[in-house]
C-alpha cells in the first residue's frame, strides 16, 4: 500500500474545510437557540451559486462572496418562517434542504462538466518546501486559513464580547432575554443569516476547490454531517476543528483505500464517513448531563412574546 501520511493530512484538511465552515455557522445559529436543519440545502445553493459566479467572472473570490450571499438569502426564508411565522424549526429546516437541493439542481442544469477557475494557494515565501510541516500547514488556499480564522473569531465572539454574551443568553432562555429588553427575534435572524453565509461558503469550497466541478447533489450529506459535528463539539468552537478534521480523515482514508484497491468493495468503504458520524454522535450524546448543560436550553423552541 502506498499511502503517505503527510499528503493524507494535507488532503484531509481540504476535505474537512467545507464541513468546518458550515458547522461554524450552525454553531452560532444553535447558540442563539435555533435549530436550522437546512444546512445541506444552503450548502448546495452556495455550491452552485458560487460556481456560476466564479465561472462567469473568472474570479473564485467573487464566487465565494456570491456563495455566502446566496446561503444567507436562502436562510432568510428559514428565518422568516421560524421567527416571524412561528413555523416548526425541524419542518422548516427540512423544507429548506429539499427546496435548496431542487433549486440548485435547476440552476446548475447547464453547468455540469465545466471546470471552474482554480483558486491559488497562499504563497508563504517558500515555507511550503519545509518537509512534513510545509505541505501540511503552508500549502493551502485562502479558505482553509479563513475557516480556521473564523473558528477563532467565533470563539472570541462567544467568549469575550457583549454581543456574544447576549446571543448565548437568547439561546439559553429567550423569555428572560426578552424580559430584559433584548431583541430575541432580531438577534436570531442575524444568527441564522450568518449560519447561511457560512454554509454557502462551505458549499462553494466543495464546488470550486475540493471537487472542483458541479454535479447534482454533490454535497452528499455534508450539511448533515456539519450538524452532527456541532453536537460532537458540544457547542464549543475549537472542538469543531477536531470533529471536522476527524471526519475529513476518515473520508480521505477510505478514498485512499479505494484508490489502492483495498480488498473491500468500494460501496462499503463509502459508508465509512456516515458510519463514523453515527458512532461519534452516539459517543457524544451518551452522557446526557454533559450534553444538556452545553446545549443551548432554548434550542428549537418557538419564541412568541406574549406581551
Amino acid at each position: 500500500m502506498d499511502i503517505s501520511i503527510v499528503s493524507l493530512i494535507a488532503t484531509l484538511i481540504v476535505a474537512a474545510t467545507p464541513i468546518l465552515l458550515a458547522a461554524t455557522g450552525e454553531l452560532i445559529v444553535e447558540k442563539s437557540g435555533v435549530l436550522n436543519l437546512g444546512v445541506e440545502g444552503m450548502m448546495i445553493m452556495g455550491a452552485i451559486c458560487g460556481f456560476i459566479a466564479a465561472v462567469s467572472t473568472g474570479s473564485p473570490l467573487l464566487g465565494f462572496c456570491i456563495a455566502a450571499l446566496s446561503g444567507a438569502l436562502l436562510s432568510l426564508l428559514f428565518a422568516i418562517l421560524t421567527q416571524y411565522l412561528l413555523a416548526n424549526q425541524v419542518a422548516s429546516g427540512l423544507a429548506l434542504t429539499l427546496f435548496g437541493l431542487g433549486l440548485a439542481a435547476l440552476l446548475g442544469h447547464s453547468y455540469s462538466g465545466i471546470k471552474p477557475p482554480s483558486t491559488p494557494k497562499i504563497e508563504w515565501f517558500g515555507l511550503s518546501d519545509i518537509p512534513v510541516i510545509g505541505p501540511i500547514i503552508f500549502n493551502h488556499d485562502l479558505m482553509v486559513y479563513f475557516s480556521l480564522f473564523l473558528v477563532f473569531v467565533v470563539w472570541i465572539f462567544l467568549r469575550f464580547t457583549r454581543v456574544g454574551l447576549i446571543l448565548r443568553a437568547v439561546g439559553e432562555n429567550h423569555d428572560a432575554a426578552h424580559a430584559l429588553g433584548y431583541k430575541v427575534i432580531r438577534i436570531r435572524v442575524l444568527a441564522i443569516m450568518f449560519g447561511g453565509a457560512c454554509a454557502g461558503l462551505g458549499g462553494a469550497y466543495l464546488s470550486l476547490i475540493r471537487v472542483p466541478q458541479w454535479t447534482e447533489g454533490m454535497t452528499a450529506g455534508a450539511g448533515w454531517i456539519a450538524l452532527a459535528i456541532v453536537v460532537f463539539a458540544s457547542w464549543k468552537p475549537w472542538r469543531l476543528i477536531l470533529g471536522a478534521y476527524l471526519f475529513g480523515g476518515v473520508t480521505i482514508l477510505q478514498l485512499n483505500l479505494q484508490a489502492n484497491g483495498f480488498d473491500i468493495p468500494v460501496s462499503y468503504l463509502s459508508m465509512a464517513p456516515y458510519l463514523v458520524t453515527i458512532v461519534v454522535l452516539v459517543i457524544m450524546s451518551a452522557d446526557r448531563t454533559r450534553a444538556s448543560i452545553n446545549a443551548p436550553a432554548s434550542l428549537g423552541k418557538i419564541f412568541h412574546a406574549s406581551s
Partner: protein, 360 residues
C-alpha cells in the same frame, strides 16, 4: 402594523383551508419561476396540475398517478405518527431501500420457486428490513440519546451504498452481462407485483395503501395509541403523566414508519421498478415528508396530498418532455409547496390583525 393575535382554540376551518392556500401560492410563485425560465407560466401550471388528470393523454397518466401516489402515501402515513409525537424519522428513503433490498433478496434467494407464498413472504421480509433499519436510530436514541434526525439521515447514505454493494455483488443478475442490476421480477411470476387491471396502474401496493389509510385513520382518531401519539407530541410531560413510556413511543413510531417505508420499497421493486438497480431510489422517502405535512399528518389529508404530489411528479415529466425543462424544476416546485404550507400554518393558531387594532 401587522400583529399576530393568538386564537384561544386552533381554527378547524384553517386546518382545512391552509393546504389549499399553500397550493395556490405555489402555483403563483411557481408560475413566476417558469416566467424566469422563459416559459409560459399558464401552460406550465396547466401541464403540471391539469393535464395528468384531465388532459389528452390522461388515460395513461392516471395510472401513473396511482403508481407514484401509493408509495408516497404509504411512507407518509408511517411518518405521520412519529411527526405527531415529535419523533423525526427523516431517513424513510433508507428504510425504503432496505425494504426493497431485504425483501428482494428473499425473493431472489427463492428463484425460481413457484409458490403463492413467495410474494407474501417478500412483503413480510421487506417490512422487517425497513423496520429493523428504522430501529437503529430508535435504539441509539433510547440508549444513547443520539439525535434520530441525524442518525436516520446518515443511514440513508449507508443504505444507498449497501444497495450498490448488493447489485454489484451478491444480488447481481447472473445472466445479466455484469450490469449492476438484479434479476427482473417480471421474469419471476411468484415474486411479481403486476398491474392488476390493465391500464389502471393498480397493483397490490396501491390496494394495501388504501387499507393502510383506513387503518391509520382508526388508529389516530379512535384508539388510545393515536391519542398518546398526539399527547406525546403536544405535551411530552403530560404524556409521561398519563403513563406513556417515551422510549416505547420512540421505538413504535420509528418502527411503524420503517416497516411501512420498507413495504413500500418492496411493492415498488417488484412492481413498477421491476428490478434492483443503482437508480432504484428516486426520493419518495423525502417527498413523503412533504406529503405528510401537506396532509396535516392526518390519514385522509395524506391520501389527497399524496395524490397531489403524484400529479406533480407526472406533470413534472410532462413539462420535462414538452417544455424541455430540467427534472429538478418540479423538485423546486415541491419544496416551495412545503415552504408555503409552513408559512400559512400560522393562520391555524393566530389571527392576523392589520392596522393599529385596539392595543397600541
Amino acid at each position: 402594523m401587522i400583529r399576530l393575535e393568538p386564537r384561544p382554540d386552533p381554527s378547524n376551518i384553517m386546518i382545512g383551508l391552509t393546504p389549499i392556500f399553500a397550493v395556490i401560492a405555489t402555483m403563483i410563485f411557481g408560475g413566476m419561476l417558469f416566467v424566469f425560465l422563459g416559459k409560459n407560466p399558464v401552460d406550465a401550471i396547466r401541464m403540471i396540475f391539469w393535464d395528468p388528470v384531465f388532459g389528452e393523454h390522461a388515460f395513461y397518466y392516471r395510472g401513473q398517478i396511482l403508481v407514484k401516489a401509493a408509495p408516497l402515501i404509504m411512507i407518509a402515513l408511517g411518518l405521520s405518527f412519529g411527526f405527531r409525537a415529535g419523533i423525526w424519522n427523516i431517513g424513510a428513503e433508507g428504510q425504503f431501500i432496505m425494504g426493497a433490498v431485504i425483501g428482494g433478496a428473499t425473493g431472489l434467494a427463492l428463484y425460481p420457486l413457484d409458490s403463492f407464498l413467495v410474494f407474501p413472504l417478500m412483503i413480510v421480509m421487506g417490512s422487517i428490513g425497513g423496520l429493523l433499519w428504522a430501529l437503529i436510530p430508535a435504539y441509539l436514541k433510547i440508549k444513547f440519546n443520539a439525535n434520530e434526525i441525524l442518525v436516520s439521515l446518515m443511514l440513508v447514505y449507508v443504505a444507498f451504498n449497501f444497495l450498490i454493494g448488493m447489485v454489484t455483488g451478491p444480488l447481481r443478475n447472473p445472466d445479466g452481462f455484469n450490469f449492476p442490476e438484479s434479476r427482473s421480477f417480471q421474469d419471476f411470476p411468484s415474486a411479481h407485483n403486476p398491474e392488476l387491471w390493465a391500464g389502471t396502474g393498480i397493483h397490490w401496493g396501491v390496494l394495501t395503501t388504501l387499507g393502510m389509510v383506513i387503518f391509520a385513520y382508526i388508529a389516530i382518531t379512535r384508539h388510545i395509541f393515536g391519542f398518546n401519539v398526539r399527547l406525546a407530541g403536544q405535551a411530552p410531560r403530560a404524556a409521561k403523566f398519563a403513563g406513556v413510556d417515551p422510549n416505547k413511543m420512540i421505538a413504535i413510531c420509528l418502527g411503524i414508519s420503517g416497516a411501512l417505508a420498507g413495504m413500500a420499497g418492496l411493492f415498488e421493486l417488484t412492481g413498477p421498478a421491476g428490478k434492483l438497480t443503482t437508480t432504484f431510489p428516486v426520493g419518495y422517502g423525502f417527498t413523503a415528508i412533504i406529503v405528510a405535512f401537506l396532509g396535516r399528518l392526518h390519514p385522509i389529508g395524506i391520501l389527497f396530498a399524496g395524490l397531489l404530489l403524484a400529479i406533480t411528479y407526472v406533470g413534472g415529466d410532462i413539462i420535462q418532455s414538452q417544455l424541455s425543462l430540467p427534472k429538478a424544476s418540479i423538485q423546486v416546485f415541491q419544496g416551495m409547496l412545503l415552504f408555503f404550507l409552513l408559512a400559512v400554518d400560522i393562520l391555524v393558531n393566530f389571527k392576523i390583525r392589520i392596522g393599529k387594532g385596539i392595543s397600541k
